[in-house]
Amino acid sequence: MRWVNVRPKSRTAALLGTLPLVLALVAYLFASAVRHANNPADKVLPTLAAMIAAMRSLLVDPDPISGRIIFWADTVASLERLGLGLGICTLSALLVGMVLGVLPAARATLGAFVTTIAVIPPIALLPILFIVFGLGETAKVALIVVGIAPFLIRDLAEHVAALPPEQLIKAQTLGASGWQLALRVALPQALPRLIAGLRLSLGPAWVYLISAEAIASDVGLGYRIFLVRRYLSMDIIIPYVAWISLLAIAMDVALMQLSRRAFGWAHQANR
């Protein structure tokens, strides 16, 4: 049988999917054990026990200055920035993207402008954002917005503009006004696409968040990683990175479930 025709069953597929993860973990533990056998004080590949011990101080002992548990304070601060940034992105994509998608005149006026903004590398704007908004929360949220919103707007506008013209004509022959057309025909079909766009944007959003936190912050997951880097504290960096990926996966799954529940019609083919 040709390999292109070998389709694993769902249980086999799940097993196969976890295999690389387990292999990577085993490889790490092996490498770590080897390094510690040579040098018990090795800091580059810390053992699991070392990581647990290091994280315990961040998870249990409150920070002597602020009195807060550092790990949770970092998580809350980062998620707040991320949530606020993505929220603003979503709203602006809905507003601007819908207007651009539905109204050809708006597309002619603003399309080139949005495209121009979208090609600017957001990190290059970070100094400007720090100068304009100061070093506080605003600049960090603004970086996420500048980085993600143009992509979401363009994606949504293109999706709406690409709706079959037959649908728009049909709606008008059924008496729909421009507003009703946007509200009842374009918007519901744009929402699943918006969620798909958000899922794709999660990765870049984390990049912008951690970049901003690394440069100017006093709390946050990215800030902590870059802070403890000075002490070569891989025993903190690795659990933090694992935690960030866990959060990212959880957000991705949540968005996918939301899309499946709320817009089942858009996932018919997958059933």
Partner: protein
Amino acid sequence: MSSLLAFENVWLEYGDKVVLERVDLGIAERSFVSIVGPSGAGKSSFLRLVLGQEAPSRGRIRLDGKALVPECGPDRGVVFQRYSVFPHLTALRNVMFARECAGARFTARLFGAARRRAAEDAAAMLAEVGLGDSLHLYPAQLSGGMQQRLAIAQALIARPRVLLLDEPFGALDPGIRQDMHRLILRLWEEHALTVLMVTHDISEAFKLATRVLAFDKRRIDPHAPHRFGATAVYDLPLRNKLPIETPEVSISGITIDKISNNSQG
């Protein structure tokens, strides 16, 4: 003759390209008009003019004696070959759409008793086209024929003055197509519809219609083929729709130049 839909010397031109020229037609109320012709002969442009998607560059189109606004409106219903239904709405909500737009200008959603009434009417209309058991299915869960039934029901509930069909059965299996022919004839009689149907299928055109219009170019300039547009070169009123094989044909008042009559697709 008082026509429901009247074309008075209608031209459609893009720059110096002439698509339709000198279209003079009157469509009587309750007639079923089939429009046939080779590709590129302006059938679809003709339909777009009636829909109001485009304005004639010369001449006038009147619906019920009033000049037609070049924008789609609820006085004209349409069923396309594909994409005529909303994929994000169930069959019932698809048919309720017209009522919801008429009943709630801002939200385009009905509530309470008005919604129940609209739903009942929509369900009755769906039952009439044979989708009584599929009220809560999405279009993706319906077959091609069922989707076209849904599109017809959706258009009919808005009570259009003219129903425009753009190759509505072109993508369907022959068997299903026969069912759809029976359905559209029944609806045409029961709802006293005026139907304009563009089709590629000549036998379908003669089987269904009370009048067949054949669009083509009357003249062709070989050096500038775009300079002459198409028009209705045959206008065949069918006195009796059956039998299909021998329609009564009258070619009155039309000269046909057999030599240059359409050579391009």
